[in-house]
Each structure stands twice: as C-alpha cells, then as structure tokens.
Amino acid sequence: MISIEELKAIREKMQPTLGLRDDTKQTRIVVGMATCGIAAGARPVLQALTEEVAKRQLKDVMVTQTGCIGLCRLEPIVEVYMGDEKTTYVKMTAEKAKQIVASHIVNHQVVTEYTIGANE
C-alpha cells in the first residue's frame, strides 16, 4: 500500500539537486488546459510529459499549463520554451508527447512534423 511517508524518500532523492537549480536554463513545457484542450485530450498529454520527465530524471524541466490560446481546433497544444526558442506542437497525444521529451527536450531536436508550421 502506498504511503505518505514515500514523500520523504522523494525529498531525500531531490536534496542533492536543490541548490543547483539554474532558472535561466530552465525548460518549460506548457500544455493548453482550457475547456477546449481538456475535451480534446490534454490531461493524458500532460500526464505523459510528467511521467517521462520523472522517468528520465530531467533537471530544470517544468511541466505546467496555460489557458486557451485561441486555436481550439488544433488542441491538445504543447508549447516548449527552451532558451530563447519557443516551439508549438499541435494535435498532441500521449505517445507524441513522449517522443517530444526524448527528441526535443533531451536531444534538442525539434520534432518538425508535429509543429504548428507543419500542420497549418
């Protein structure tokens, strides 16, 4: 049975990295989570991104949400902010989201075929 004590283990695991955070190097992965995004399947996309970031123990990567950006027909939408670059991915699925973590976040290779430019 899972217990709240497990959080202490997570805390201990995180401890060595806590002082080393560098916000200027932080990558932000943002998922559109308004009514339109949620109805289109944003929650499993956010979940897949979070699981993949945890599994790979990626540091300085933050997964969070935004509201409706006015392109409801292309939801679920994921935006990646890395350095000065912003990449917008459209019509995401959990599978595609995992690919983005592996290719874009880890190996710095944009997955062009899923970007808004390739879909509009």
């Binding site: 049975m1 899972i2 709240i4 004590e5 497990e6 959080l7 202490k8 997570i10 805390r11 695991k13 995180m14 806590l18 989570m33 308004a34 009514t35 949620i38 109805a39 929650r43 499993p44 956010l46 979940q47 979070t50 699981e51 970031v53 945890a54 933050m62 997964v63 969070t64 949400q65 509201g67 409706c68 006015g70």
Partner: protein, 185 residues
C-alpha cells in the same frame, strides 16, 4: 467531455481564477440513495447575484479572448441528463460552493473516469494553492491535503515536482480502489 473527472479539471480552474487560496474537491457515492455527488468549494472572490444568475449561460464568460464559456453549462447538462442537477452558492468575498448531483446508476451518467489524474494535474499546475480532495462511498472515505504533503516534503521540494505529481496520482488511484473494491465509478 467523456468523463466527469474532466469536467472537474475544467471547473476547478474557475476557483483558481477566482484567486482562491484553498480549493476543496469532493466526490461522494451513495449507493442507497443512488447518487454520485461532485462538489468544488473555494475561498475565492465569489460572484455577485447578476453573475451567479447568468453563469449557467454558455454566453457568459470571464475570459476576454472569446464570448463563450462552456465549463459550467457542460457540467449542468451532464447532471441533468441523469435526473440530477447543479447548484451554485456564492457571494462576493465569500467564495463559491458548486455541487453537481448525478443519478449514479442512470444510463446516461458518464463514468467518473481518472479522477486521480485530475487531482494530480490540478495540484501540479496550481501548486501555489492548497488543495483538499475527499472521496467517499457509503460513509467510508479517504482524503488528501496538500498542506500535509508539503510538511512531508519540507520547504524546498515543490508539489509540481514530477516525482511528487506521480505519487499523488498513484496515491489517489490506489486509495479509491481500496474503498470501492476496484469497481469503476
């Protein structure tokens, strides 16, 4: 929306936008009364009478990008389709309490679905608020309180840390299963 837990994810965001510091989400099943009740309560800015009256109208929204808002109308429709209803109590400065009651065994009741992911997502994306979640079935219940999680994590590990988010999801999923014997809600 294919599951009620997605409606919860959607409408809880209204509480965040209302500037709530503490948001309480509860799911209660009562097999004798044949009801499933979802409530979301917050200590946010609340609504005046005029907004409260019009909030079920799809053409009422507080956002400025477009003139439709479907969160509450969709939830109300889902509840009414099962012989239930939606009620909202609110006043300026006094927070908002929303309650949706569903006919539990009604054929048109959507499944609750992955409520564990919904709560984990809400905490992850709004880790500057305090959240409580309670699930109960026929009087037996379990609950989760972000203040207790913070205490375990110490001051320096954020609730939005991916490892913590995954733990929250597993914790809720397992406890829900424990209480309802693994039956899908």
């Amino acid at each position: 929306m294919k599951e009620l837990s997605l409606n919860v994810l959607d409408i809880a965001e209204n509480s965040v936008r209302a500037g709530a510091k503490h948001i309480d989400v509860a799911v209660a099943e009562d097999t004798a009364a044949d009801t499933l009740t979802i409530s979301v309560s917050d200590d946010g800015c609340g609504m005046d009478e005029a907004l409260l009256k019009s909030v079920r109208d799809p053409f009422t929204t507080t956002r400025t990008t477009r003139r439709v808002g479907l969160g509450i109308p969709l939830l109300q429709e889902a509840a009414q389709a099962t012989g239930g209803d939606l009620s909202i109590e609110s006043a300026p400065g006094r927070g908002t309490r929303l309650k949706a009651v569903f006919g539990r065994s009604h054929i048109d009741r959507m499944p609750l679905g992955d409520i564990a992911s919904t709560i984990a997502t809400l905490i992850q994306c709004n880790d500057d608020r305090e959240w409580t979640y309670r699930y109960s079935i026929d009087g037996r219940s379990f609950s989760l309180d972000t203040r207790e999680l913070r205490e375990m994590l110490g001051g320096d590990v954020a609730l939005s840390t991916p490892d913590v988010v995954n733990w929250v999801r597993k914790y809720i999923a397992q406890n829900t299963k424990e209480l309802n014997g693994g039956n899908s809600v």
